[in-house]
C-alpha cells in the first residue's frame, strides 16, 4: 500500500486537462448502462419477456419506494432517483472486475453525486413552493432555527458524500490490505461483503435523496416515517 487511496491516478491528458481513471471508468459504466438499456428496451411487448419483466420490476420498485416516501406520484422524481440508484449500484459493483476501482471510492464522484442531490433538492423545493415559500421553510418552526436549518443543508450533503465515499473506499482499502498481506483468493469473502455493502449504500443514497426532496416539497407532505430514515447528519 504505497499510494494514498485519496489520490487519483491520471489516465491520460486531454490538452491541459488531466482525465483521471475514475472518469474513464464512469464513462465505461455510462456506455454499458446506455447501450444495455437501449438494447433491452428496443423490443418491448405487452406480453413481457423475462428480461423485460426484470426491467419493469426495477422501475416499479423504484417507483413504489419513491411513492412511499414522497406520498405523491413518482413520475417527476423517477429519472433523478432512478439514475442515482442505478449509477451508484453499478459503480459499487464494478469492483468485481479485477483491476477496476469503483469511481465512488473517490471523493470527487461522491461530491458530484451529492451536489446533484443538493441542487435538485433546492430546485424541487422552489418549484413546489415558489422561491419565497421555499425560503420560508427554513424559518420553521421559528426564525431561531434559520442558522440550524442552513447548516443542516450543508452538513447533510457532506454526510451523504462522506458516507458513500467512506463505505466504498474502506471496502476497496480493506480488500487491498488483505490482498497485500494474505494472498490471491483470501479477500473474496470481503469482496462479497462489499457487494452487499455497495447495494445497501446505493439504496440508502437514493432513499436519502428522496427524503431530502420530500422534505423540500413541504411540511404537509412530510411524514414522520421519513425523518426516521434521515439518519446522522
Amino acid at each position: 500500500m504505497n499510494a494514498s487511496p485519496l489520490l487519483n491516478q491520471v489516465a491520460f491528458t486531454l490538452g491541459p486537462v488531466a482525465v483521471s481513471v475514475p472518469v474513464v471508468v464512469t464513462w465505461g459504466i455510462m456506455a454499458a448502462l446506455a447501450v444495455g438499456s437501449g438494447v433491452l428496451t428496443r423490443a418491448l411487448h405487452l406480453r413481457a419477456s423475462r428480461a423485460q419483466m426484470a426491467l419493469e420490476l426495477i422501475v416499479t420498485s423504484i417507483d413504489s419506494q419513491i411513492e412511499a416516501t414522497v406520498q405523491s406520484d413518482a413520475a417527476p422524481f423517477r429519472v433523478l432517483v432512478g439514475t442515482l440508484f442505478l449509477f451508484v449500484l453499478a459503480a459499487n459493483w464494478i469492483a468485481v472486475i479485477p483491476g477496476v476501482e469503483p469511481p465512488t471510492a473517490h471523493l470527487e464522484t461522491d461530491a458530484a453525486l451529492a451536489a446533484t442531490v443538493f441542487v435538485a433538492t433546492i430546485g424541487y423545493g422552489i418549484r413546489a413552493n415558489g422561491l419565497w415559500g421555499y425560503l420560508r421553510t427554513f424559518a420553521e418552526p421559528s426564525w431561531v432555527m434559520v442558522p440550524l436549518n442552513l447548516v443542516e443543508q450543508i452538513t447533510r450533503t457532506l454526510s451523504l458524500m462522506v458516507r458513500l465515499f467512506g463505505n466504498v473506499m474502506s471496502g476497496v482499502f480493506v480488500v487491498g490490505i488483505v490482498l497485500s498481506l494474505a494472498g490471491l483468493l483470501v479477500p473474496i469473502p470481503l469482496m462479497a461483503l462489499d457487494l452487499l455493502t455497495g447495494a445497501v449504500q446505493a439504496y440508502i443514497f437514493a432513499i436519502l435523496a428522496t427524503v431530502f426532496i420530500a422534505a423540500a416539497l413541504g411540511e404537509n407532505r412530510q411524514k414522520p416515517a421519513d425523518t426516521v430514515l434521515k439518519g446522522p447528519v
Partner: protein, 246 residues
C-alpha cells in the same frame, strides 16, 4: 487533502448526461409499456366484467326458463292427475251403475222366471183342477152342471147397475147364453127367467161351451157376465197367487 476539481466537473457532467441517457432510453419506454399494459389490463378487466355480467344475465334467463318449465310440468302433472281422477271416478260410477243394472236385471230375470214358473205351475194346477173337476162332474148327474147357476146369474144381473144392464140389453143380436151342455127344456126356461132382466125380446140364443165345466154365462159384444166353475177356479188360482206373492 487533495480534491481534484477537474474530476469533480467531469463526474458532474457525466451524471447529468447519464440521467438524460437513462431517462431517454430506459425509464421512458419501460414506463410507457407499463402504462400500456395497465390500460390493457383495465380494458380486459372491463371486458371480462361485461361478459361476466352477460353470462350472469343469461344464467338468470336460463334459470327463469327452467323454473317456468318446472311449473309447467307441475301443472301438466296436476291436470293429468285430475283428469285421471275424474276418469277413474267416472269409470267407477259407470261400473257401479253397470253392476247395479246387471244385479237389477238379474233380479228381475229371477223374479220374472220365478213368476213365470209360478204362473206355469198355477196354470198346470188350474188345468189339473179343471181335469179333476171334469172327471168328478162326469160322474155326477148331468143336472149338476147347470143346477143353481141360473139363480146365481139372476142375482149378479140384479146387482149390476142400471147403466150396465142397459148396455148389455143394448147389444142387440150378439147377446147370448153360454152353457156347458145343451140345455133341457126346464133348464132353458129357468135360464130365460134368470136373464129376463136384460133380455128384451124373450128368448136368447144358447151356445154350448164344454170348457165352462158347469155354469151359465151371459156373453155379448159389450162384455161377459162370468158365472161358471171354470171361471171360479181361475179366480181362486189368481187369488192364491196374489196371496202367495204377498
Amino acid at each position: 487533502m487533495h480534491f481534484d476539481w477537474a474530476t469533480f466537473a467531469f463526474q458532474l457532467v457525466n451524471i447529468l448526461v447519464l440521467m438524460w441517457l437513462l431517462g431517454r432510453y430506459f425509464f421512458r419506454p419501460v414506463t410507457k409499456i407499463i402504462a400500456e399494459r395497465q390500460s390493457e389490463v383495465d380494458r380486459l378487466l372491463k371486458a371480462a366484467e361485461a361478459s361476466q355480467a352477460e353470462a350472469e344475465t343469461a344464467r338468470g334467463a336460463v334459470q327463469a326458463a327452467r323454473e317456468a318449465i318446472a311449473a309447467e310440468r307441475l301443472k301438466v302433472i296436476e291436470t293429468a292427475v285430475g283428469e285421471a281422477e275424474a276418469r277413474r271416478a267416472a269409470m267407477l260410477a259407470k261400473a257401479a251403475d253397470e253392476a247395479a243394472a246387471a244385479v237389477a236385471n238379474a233380479q228381475q230375470a229371477v223374479t220374472e222366471r220365478l213368476e213365470g214358473e209360478q204362473r206355469e205351475q198355477m196354470g198346470r194346477a188350474v188345468d189339473l183342477a179343471i181335469l179333476i173337476t171334469h172327471k168328478l162332474l162326469d160322474e155326477l148327474p148331468a143336472e149338476a152342471r147347470v143346477t143353481g147357476y141360473p139363480e146365481r146369474l139372476s142375482q149378479v144381473l140384479n146387482a149390476l147397475s142400471q147403466e150396465r144392464r142397459a148396455e148389455l140389453a143394448g147389444s142387440d143380436g150378439t147377446l147370448r147364453i153360454v152353457a156347458p151342455r145343451p140345455l133341457t127344456k126346464p133348464e132353458t126356461a129357468l135360464a130365460m127367467a134368470a136373464v129376463g132382466a136384460v133380455a128384451q125380446n124373450g128368448a136368447l140364443p144358447v151356445e154350448v161351451d164344454a170348457g165352462l165345466l158347469a155354469g151359465l154365462e151371459l156373453r155379448s159384444s159389450q162384455g161377459v157376465i162370468h158365472n161358471s166353475l171354470r171361471y171360479d177356479l181361475g179366480r181362486i188360482a189368481e187369488a192364491l197367487v196374489s196371496h202367495e206373492k204377498r
